[in-house]
């Protein structure tokens, strides 16, 4: 594979990680996977990514063991985060925190809260109320002060307007 996603000459772990998840759309696909999106056309509709690109990214992430492709209801396969994929949650949480601080003047659009006590999750992944570390499965996504209603009219965006526990399927 010539040089589409690779960073030749970089022996750093960061470069290796970016070769896996650094391509355009990949981290947004994984974000949606954390939010509970599992099916091809749900990714497609919610992200607006060209279907050929989505197909290639999903296949690559499955090959790398970041996603698992498992049979779902009615014979339809679903794409689920593996343990390796879930381990990327701190990356996405840190990225969201940075974006919120620097590009959300009206406050965060979405806030992560601790399912146990309802406290806000800090950028470092701890509960601001009880201090405990909040694993991704105990994280609840709720609309924040900067939330402005679904930009798109699709069912995925509508479902994300409601409080929702990460990793659980939407709808």
């Amino acid at each position: 594979m010539a040089l589409p996603r690779e960073y030749p000459g970089q022996s750093c772990a960061m470069a290796r990680a970016l070769e896996i998840v650094g391509e355009r759309w990949t981290l947004l696909i994984l974000r949606d996977a954390f939010f509970g999106v599992r099916r091809f056309s749900d990714f497609s509709r919610h992200l607006g990514v060209p279907r050929a690109v989505l197909s290639e990214r999903l296949e690559f992430l499955v090959a790398e063991g970041v996603l698992d492709r498992v049979p779902g209801p009615r014979g339809r396969d679903e794409y689920l985060l593996s343990d390796k994929g879930m381990a990327l949650w701190p990356v996405l949480r840190a990225l969201a925190a940075w974006g919120d601080v620097h590009y959300s003047p009206a406050g965060p659009r979405r806030v992560f809260t601790h399912a146990g006590c309802g406290g806000t999750v800090t950028p470092g992944g701890h509960c601001a109320d009880c201090g405990a570390h909040v694993p991704v499965g105990a994280t609840v996504l709720v609309p924040g002060p900067g939330y402005e209603g679904p930009a798109e009219g699709d069912a995925i965006s509508a479902a994300l307007a409601e409080p929702h526990r990460l990793l659980e399927p939407l709808g």
Copy 2:
């Protein structure tokens, strides 16, 4: 700007962050900036990025306030991380941690340690020895068990083989 870096229809803070730092090479440029690289040709030599791309990325990051362009010795400008840029450190640290766990079978090539006490910095940014939060300026990069010597023969790679405090200039 049509659609090179943008993710249309995505109102999420993560998508906004990726529009700034999600393009190819950008996070590696910032990684080098954390490691102490400051000058155009040092970035160019160490990364192997096409010079036109490097020029465009640096200009964009300065325009976004992630880097500051300041006059350096002998009339040469230098690119330094702003506070906004330094706030991206948790993202890169999380990415490096993920890459180390999943793509460094011989152990991490580089380890982050706490300048105060020498303890290892956890993926969450705390010192494993004293428990304190380790700010980026108090982080020291040392070669880890998986280190294999500089892949490239340039002076930057050689300088990174020695323990080195982040943000301080190399050499």
